[in-house]
Amino acid sequence: MTVTASFTSDEMMTVAASRAMRDGVACFVGIGIPSTAANLARRTHAPGLVLVYESGTLGAKPAALPLSIGDGQLADTADAVVSVPEVFNYWLQPGRVDIGFLGAAQIDRYANINTTVIGDDYQHPKIRLPGAGGAPEIAANCPEVIVVVRQSRRTFVDRVDFVTSVGHGTGSGDRARLGLRGAGPTMVITDLGILTPDPDTCVLTLSSVHPGVTVDQARDATGWDLAVAGDLATTLPPTDEELAVLRELEATKGQVL
């Protein structure tokens, strides 16, 4: 593996997310970086990755990067197209979709996610966000959840203003208490590094930094006292192939091929 090309932090984040996709599993993908990462994985190390979009397209194989979760090419290339109630009830809810891919406007130390409102007063928020969509049930029911989000103090907060989707709740054992069957967020991939929940406390801990990123940078971008894993790794930079395929892919965004 040779690494020569330079790359952006977003490219590193997307590549790291794509590497988290194991071949042959099914993942529930939203638009944006999750969709880009999943499609990158399908074109590199995970050709058998099954892409499930909440529009009911199971096993979509888009030729171009879709701009919406309901692009026509997703239906044209899917193994099966099912209704929206069916995708949530028969496919997501029983845990058939191995990995759920989520973004966040706020995420806290326990990987709880807010995409609803910024501010303490739900009725009169500082900022009104789009809301829940499929995220709460993805977070609840997927066997594994991976969060992809740019890291900053504005986003990585001690406590989210509103719990839209449950990560590890109030900490160790809380998901079990709530009856949530999935494992919850196992990885939070950012533009600075990779955070994973501490096995004992479930608090997000820095387990890898991307090339050229310092631990202090990651700490400064985190709204709680970020712990660092003893075996802190440095993320392998994007390979030439990963970068080439990613840029090719980005160039197709929204195209009808």
């Binding site: 529009s55 209704s83 949530f88 609803t116 009104r128 829940a132 499929g134 719990v163 009856g179």
Partner: protein
């Protein structure tokens, strides 16, 4: 049996001030033309129900048609926020907007319960989220066999459902393919329904992936070619992604929005009327 009417007639006959209206279409087949007609006819105090109140409801809300919004994701897909929605919720402009917020799974199951003649639906959802306190009608329910506690949400029973489809035949049977979303459940859960279509044909040709809504479950069908723009109709048009991007600037500014409303909605007499008559007679000729 569904009757075939013009879009203007259809909206006038089925949509009344104060109604609960569900316009569905999951990215695909969003009934924009019908939404614009509702704005033109000046409907007020509507309770708008929709999983993804994207640009279509941003337009209705900005035009002051809505009193309340029942939804699960309110954004401009792939672009950003819904500024008219935010302005109404935050500033009560042009009129205050009450919101009832759910998750996609919750909304989908509420339609299923409505379509099934049940008062509620059961799902694995909401538990541990702040939606439970923010939204009044999310309640726990206990399995009578295992004792496990799950979540119940009440059925949706809109007064009228409005959806867009590719085809209807002259008897009013409706054919939908591609991403079929929650349209069947929206129509079956509603007391009345209006379906706008790309074309009206003598007989529905077999179509892989298509579902059919039998004529006897639909109230009115109206011809509205291109009626899903800037969304799309699989097999007839592609999504106008530039429109969604352009909407961000238009909707950020009240005056820009007002100008858009005048130019693109009010100054356009509903075209489907004439068109439908002629086209219908042409096709039937």
């Amino acid at each position: 049996m569904a009757r075939i009417v013009s879009l203007a007639q259809g909206v006038a006959e089925l949509v009344h001030d104060g109604d609960t209206v569900a316009m569905e279409g999951f990215t695909h087949l969003i009934p924009f033309a019908a939404g614009h007609e509702v704005i033109r006819q000046g409907r007020r105090d509507l309770t708008l129900v929709r999983m993804t109140p994207d640009v279509i409801y941003d337009q209705l809300i900005g035009a002051g048609c809505a009193r309340k919004l029942v939804f699960s994701w309110g954004g401009n897909p792939g672009v950003g926020s819904l500024h008219r929605f935010r302005d109404a919720v935050g500033n009560g402009w042009p009129v205050p907007l009450e919101i009832e917020e759910h998750s996609h799974a919750g909304m989908a199951n509420r339609y299923v319960a409505g379509a099934s003649g049940l008062p509620f639906a059961v799902l694995r959802g909401y538990v541990g989220t702040d939606l439970v306190s923010a939204t009044a009608n999310i309640r726990p329910i206990t399995c009578p066999f295992t004792g496990e506690v799950l979540t119940a949400v009440p059925a949706l029973r809109p007064d009228v459902a409005i959806v867009h489809a590719q085809r209807a035949d002259r008897a009013g049977n409706v054919q939908i393919w591609g991403i079929t979303g929650v349209q069947k459940e929206a129509v079956l859960s509603s007391a009345r329904s209006l379906v706008t279509v790309e074309e009206i044909v003598d007989e529905l040709p077999p179509q892989p992936g298509a579902i059919v809504l039998p004529s006897w479950t639909v109230t009115l069908v109206a011809l509205a070619p291109g009626g899903s723009h800037p969304s799309y109709s699989h097999g007839f048009s592609v999504r106008d992604n530039d429109y969604y991007v352009a909407w961000d600037a238009i909707s950020r500014d009240r005056d820009a929005f007002r100008r858009w409303l005048d130019a693109e909605v009010f100054d356009r007499s509903e075209p489907a009327t004439a068109e439908s008559d002629t086209t219908t007679s042409e096709v039937s000729a």
